[in-house]
Subunit: 233 residues, 2 copies
DNA sequence: ACAAAAGTGTTTGGTATACACCCATGT
DNA sequence: ACATGGGTGTATACCAAACACTTTTGT
């Protein structure tokens, strides 16, 4: 009752239940032409060996965002990665061991292939979101919510470029959007939108790996995007 | 390091930091023609007497959603209210007493005026989002995020009707959208959209309170909305 | 009669969509 | 020469926005 208003009441804290709080990270990347999620076999019971999202407990001296960034760093060696909170998950039985409240984050990893050696150490691997195995805990729900959040975000802001290498071709960008949105998009319309919105800039590099003719490479430009401030795919 | 993967590892739980987890509720309602938030004076230190969002600690036998619903019920006596999670907030110093991790929810309260007597008991009052006092903790941030979430949601799905009484006039609905979106909308276009999308249905009731002529009253209809499934204001 | 809010269609501009052929190059 | 992916404009449909007057009725 009045307990409803204990929040922040110093001496009252002790009477309240406490929980380990974890972060779970959904790492997205474009891999083998598919939007993929990084899964690693669990190293502990329960479900030892079963592919799982990466998680970690929140330490007393780090914020939720910092915890998520740390977990990501420990696994990949990457910092300066686009991350966004998906939400908090607190079902009673979401962890069979003990009640843990978890905050999910998604991260967008550039497909430069510069993932740290640590990934191999954890036997982590990229799994297409179209071919996910049955996952434990509430990880399927988390991934679903993360995909929803990604869809919504991508249609409003040009965050998808965080999934591309520094330099990329328009065809790569288009494939990325098609994978994220789950539908095919018109080549000419897509290119027009990107160029009109000035969020990418042409470089003098040519990609000759994927075609005989070669494809112009572009770079994302946050600055010129900010000026126009409209984006819609 | 390997600790990153302790998640769910039974015996390992004990070594991890534990935190009280709270929910904070941002109750939105249309009050006095303004989109408003319910604030109540804190009953405990720190900041006793200062207007604040409603919060409560998550008990061991309730989910986050249940905790939020309980806090709302304790304050208003209402159940069956539209609620949505805004996100988790875990800044280190967000609560001066002790580290508390909080999950914010927003709720949409019908402006029927049927708020329970309990509200009076807590000296709670509706404050226009345009005239919020300086709030403590990270409540300003929570409200900002809740408003963002509300904006996005309202433009995609007809959840705003949760803020209107059972029966309402088109003018009321329009005012509501104007307050939420923070801009004026065209009367004819607005009405056309609502009627075309079949998410409201005409009743035979006439509201004579706000005009001499009287205004037709409508009711939200979730069923017929589901059929058309497009909504855009 | 008049004040005050309710109600009602059409025009216009912009944006999203659909669509097909030529280009450059390595083999 | 040909196979492969890269690159380019236009016409159309639809939707959002702008816009002003008539209706009803209590006073």
């Amino acid at each position: 009752m009045d307990e409803t208003f204990d929040l922040g009441a110093g001496s009252y804290y002790s009477v309240h239940d406490r929980y380990p709080v974890s972060v779970d990270c959904i790492l997205f990347s474009l891999h083998g032409g598919e939007l993929s999620v990084l899964l690693a076999p669990r190293k502990f019971e329960p479900h030892r060996g079963v592919p799982s999202l990466m998680g970690g407990f929140v330490k007393h001296d780090e914020t939720l965002d910092e915890a998520a960034a740390r977990v990501l760093w420990e696994l990949t060696g990457l910092d300066d990665v686009y991350m966004e909170q998906v939400g908090a998950f607190g079902a009673l039985d979401r962890d069979p061991g003990e009640r843990v409240i978890s905050v999910a984050y998604f991260a967008l990893i550039k497909s430069d292939g510069v993932i740290d050696a640590r990934v191999g150490k954890y036997d982590a691997e990229w799994v297409s979101v179209g071919r996910l195995p049955e996952l434990k805990f509430d990880h399927p729900l988390m991934i679903e919510r993360a995909l929803d959040a990604l869809h919504r975000k991508v249609a409003r802001e040009p965050v998808a470029f965080n999934l591309l290498p520094e330099l990329f071709t328009l065809t790569q960008a288009q494939m990325l959007y098609e994978r994220i949105l789950g539908r095919s998009v018109d080549k000419r319309n897509f290119r027009r939108q990107l160029l009109d919105n000035k969020c990418i800039e042409l470089t003098d590099k040519i990609d000759k790996l994927n075609s005989r003719r070669g494809a112009a490479m572009y770079r994302f430009n946050r600055e010129s995007y900010k000026e126009t401030l409209k984006f819609k795919i």
